[in-house]
């Protein structure tokens, strides 16, 4: 039977890119459908308006939004459309997805993350499950990711480090800021062990991409040198160059069509002109980021799937994950340091690249034996307007005129703020899931995702434990005004789960290969597969798993084809 393509991938981020890259490399024809535009290095500048103050890389909330359900404090749930709250759950809708805008902290999961249930036992109110694969199954794909995406780092000995098949990273560490050595020193004084953080940023030119140019503007900005290992720069550009991968930007998929046998027969989408199009393929891969992946499956009803594609066991959308934890900060005041130290602190460009990984698992008198997490250090985000906005309020009153100007001078000139971010598990639970909203539609007339964001209280307990360690290190550095915040609100850019993988269709949407239990030609390759999320940012693991899934798809299609 003639089909348009061998494989159709919906979504072009860290979940979709590896599939397109590897399948094209194996000789198969691939189409990638991406809702957003196709921007590249020449379009990305260090523009605070574009990155962070206008909806440029994300949809306008009046066109496309979410409905968020938060606990109302009285055992109920309050729904708020994000157009009303302004709480934006989009993270980058363009070719390459949110991987264009990541910071690229590339920590692997550790072996314990694959078996939390059997290691720590059940937790009341949480749906913790072991993964159907082990670290050893994913390790070769972490290694592959390091080489194909381009990870820069140094594999220093650390008591909590996981095993590696390559002795070291393929690229040396990115340049480091003078503060990094001071963090090492402060950590040692406290008996902590600082960890040099691997980054998905090229420290040397490679694979047709330039090296990092150290502008100091990385996270939340698109990369103008190509050094950042976005799915677009690292994978899709190569896949397209192979001649076997076609990217269709501005292609908004509205439904996956399935037939009477329960197989997918085609995908329906709107093109840039608003015309309805269809494309068919042998295998379909969904990778729209966790919330939108679940939404698309739930929206795609068919003769065998009255409640949504692959959802005859009611599992799609359940056990959505974010990242637990929070953040803290401290001000390094220039007057506390001599001229040389101050000059060093003012340096802009090189990376901090330091984390604390001493408490990935905990045995604490208050908390008991539980999973912990990591603490990542980074300079205050460089966005100037965002920083200045802090100066316009004082004691709840608006400030303007001369007083506003004096506050701006103090905020910008007298200190530099060092932040930390805590990453710990977001325990899967029955109050964190994706559904479809019955009232709010997007601009194409489809129901938007309704997301309930209930958090397990253990996440905050662990987060506070780790934040206290982060504060301790900032104080050791001599920082003033040290503070941290750990709460139940999820970070909208760290999404996983919703289509967990597992060995039975009753308890999991996907099998161990991330193929839908109920649909033989459907795979999901973004972070949706994760039954538990681990205590590090997700992108590295999404890439690695997607490379693993790509191998399974190649196998299902009969292996790599001989190429002309």
């Amino acid at each position: 039977m003639s089909r348009d393509f061998d494989v159709c991938v919906i979504g072009s981020g860290a979940g979709g890119g590896p599939i397109a890259y590897r399948l094209a490399e194996a000789g198969y024809s691939v189409v990638v459908l991406e809702k957003g535009p196709w921007l590249s290095e020449q379009h990305f500048t260090k523009d605070e308006l574009a990155c962070c103050r206008r909806a440029v890389y994300t949809p306008e909330l009046r066109d496309e939004q979410h409905v968020i359900e938060q606990a109302d404090g009285a055992a109920g749930w309050q729904s708020t459309p994000t157009q009303v709250s302004g709480w934006n759950f989009w993270n980058g809708n363009c070719v390459g997805g949110s991987s264009n805008f990541m910071s690229g902290y590339f920590h692997r999961l550790k072996p314990v993350d694959f078996k939390l249930r059997s290691t720590f036992g059940p937790i009341d109110g949480a749906n913790v499950a072991d993964w159907p694969i082990e670290y050893a199954d994913l390790e070769p794909y972490y290694d592959m990711t390091e080489h194909l995406i381009g990870v820069s780092g140094k594999a220093d000995a650390h008591a909590n480090s996981e095993s590696r098949s390559s002795a070291d990273f393929p690229f040396p560490p990115t340049l480091e800021h003078p503060i990094s050595a001071r963090i090492d020193q402060a950590a040692a004084q406290l008996g902590f062990h600082s960890l040099r953080v691997p980054r998905a940023i090229l420290s040397q030119p490679a694979m047709g991409r330039r090296a990092c140019e150290y502008s100091g503007f990385c996270g939340s900005f698109g990369c103008s040198s190509g050094a950042k290992g976005s799915s677009r720069a690292a994978l899709l550009d190569h896949a397209v160059a192979s001649g076997r991968c076609e990217i269709r930007a501005h292609a908004k998929v509205t439904g996956i069509i399935s037939d009477a046998r329960g197989r997918i027969s085609s995908v329906e989408y709107f093109d840039h002109e608003g015309k309805t199009r269809r494309v068919d393929a042998g295998i379909y891969v969904v990778a729209c980021q966790a919330i939108e992946t679940s939404r698309l499956l739930l929206s795609s009803v068919g003769p065998r799937f009255p409640d949504g594609l692959a959802n005859n066991h009611g599992q799609v959308g359940r056990n959505l994950l974010f990242s637990g934890g929070g953040a803290g900060s401290g001000d390094l005041v220039f007057d506390d340091h001599d001229a040389a130290e101050t000059a060093a602190m003012r340096v802009v460009g090189p990376f901090v690249n330091r984390a604390l990984d001493d408490w990935y698992t905990l045995d604490d008198p208050q908390l008991g034996r539980v999973k912990g997490g990591i603490i990542e250090f980074l300079w205050d985000h460089p966005n100037a307007v965002a920083r200045a906005e802090n100066a316009k309020w004082h004691d709840g009153e608006l400030v303007w005129g001369g007083p506003l100007k004096r506050r701006l001078e103090a905020w910008f000139r007298t200190d530099r703020t060092l932040n930390f971010e805590v990453f710990n598990d977001w325990l899967p639970n029955d109050d964190c899931f994706v559904g479809l909203d019955g009232r709010v539609l997007d601009r194409w007339g489809s129901p938007v995702a309704k997301v309930r964001i209930g958090a397990h209280p253990q996440d905050q307990r662990v987060g506070r434990f780790l934040a206290a360690k982060g504060e301790q290190l900032l104080r050791q550095l001599g920082a003033r005004r040290v503070a941290s915040s750990v709460g139940p609100a999820p970070p909208a850019n760290l999404q996983a789960g919703g289509c967990r993988f597992g060995n039975t269709a009753e308890a999991a949407v996907l099998d161990a290969d991330c193929r839908a239990h109920e649909v033989e030609n459907l795979f999901v390759s973004d972070g949706s597969f994760m039954p538990t999320g681990g205590s590090v940012p997700y992108t590295f693991t999404i890439y690695a798993n997607s490379f693993r899934v790509a191998d399974r798809i190649v196998a299902q299609l009969g292996g790599a084809r001989g190429q002309a």
């Binding site: 535009p37 196709w38 921007l39 379009h43 500048t45 260090k46 523009d47 308006l49 962070c52 103050r53 206008r54 440029v56 938060q70 709250s85 302004g86 709480w87 910071s103 140019e213 502008s215 100091g216 503007f217 996270g219 900005f221 103008s224 990242s323 953040a327 900060s329 205050d380 985000h381 460089p382 966005n383 100037a384 307007v385 965002a386 920083r387 906005e389 802090n390 316009k392 009153e397 608006l398 303007w400 005129g401 001369g402 506003l404 100007k405 001078e409 910008f412 000139r413 703020t417 932040n419 971010e421 990453f423 941290s484 915040s485 709460g487 609100a489 999820p490 970070p491 909208a492 760290l494």
Partner: protein
């Protein structure tokens, strides 16, 4: 970078911190507008909306911006950062919601009506002290505070965003605050209205 921008989440990450402020502002304004029956005019209690709409708001906005960020010998004010031109860019920008854009202009008309009620003069006709008193009185109401907060936010954008957008000429705002911008900066062809979105 974690992006925790929930409306209830006080987060020390300033990249994220703008969003909750703006969000609180927007949602509060929407609430106020809804409470007032759906129009900005009703929100501000305009008695003579038709007359107010006919008045050119830009001279008043110019004076308000200069008051909110005054010029000083060692530091730039609204005049030096081209704040008025920048605000015109904002008011013409479809990426800024129509509601926000209307709010900027109509709030100004309300300020003039308040000036007429209290001092029998347009805002421009008041001396510096009376302008300050009137703006303080404006800030005492939720709607007025939202309006002034919005103007200050755009003043700060005019002070600290890339000169290609019309404010911050030659990086005057960056130099004043010893701020090092990133590179490359947006310019002709890479400003966001010109991207192939």
């Amino acid at each position: 970078m974690i992006r925790r921008t929930g409306p209830d989440c006080a987060h020390p990450d300033p990249a994220a911190s703008l969003a909750p402020l703006r969000n609180a502002l927007l949602s509060r304004r929407r609430f106020l507008i809804q409470s007032a029956g759906g129009t900005v005019a009703l929100l501000f209690g305009l008695r003579n909306t038709h007359a107010a709409e006919e008045q050119d708001p830009w001279p008043t906005l110019d004076v308000v911006l200069r008051h909110l960020l005054p010029s000083e010998p060692d530091s730039p004010g609204a005049a030096e950062i081209n704040a008025l031109d920048y605000l015109r860019f904002v008011v013409d920008d479809p990426k800024v919601s129509a509601e926000d854009r209307a709010f900027i202009v109509q709030g100004c008309q309300w300020l003039n009506e308040l000036a007429q009620q209290t001092h029998a003069s347009d805002f421009i006709g008041l001396d510096d002290q009376r302008r300050e008193q009137l703006l303080r009185r404006t800030a005492a109401s939720a709607a007025g505070e939202n309006w002034l907060s919005t103007l200050i936010s755009y003043l700060l954008e005019s002070l600290l965003t890339a000169p290609a957008y019309g404010g911050n000429p030659d990086g005057i705002g960056w130099r004043w605050l010893s701020y090092v911008p990133g590179f490359p900066l947006p310019g002709p062809g890479t400003r966001y209205p010109e991207l192939p979105l």
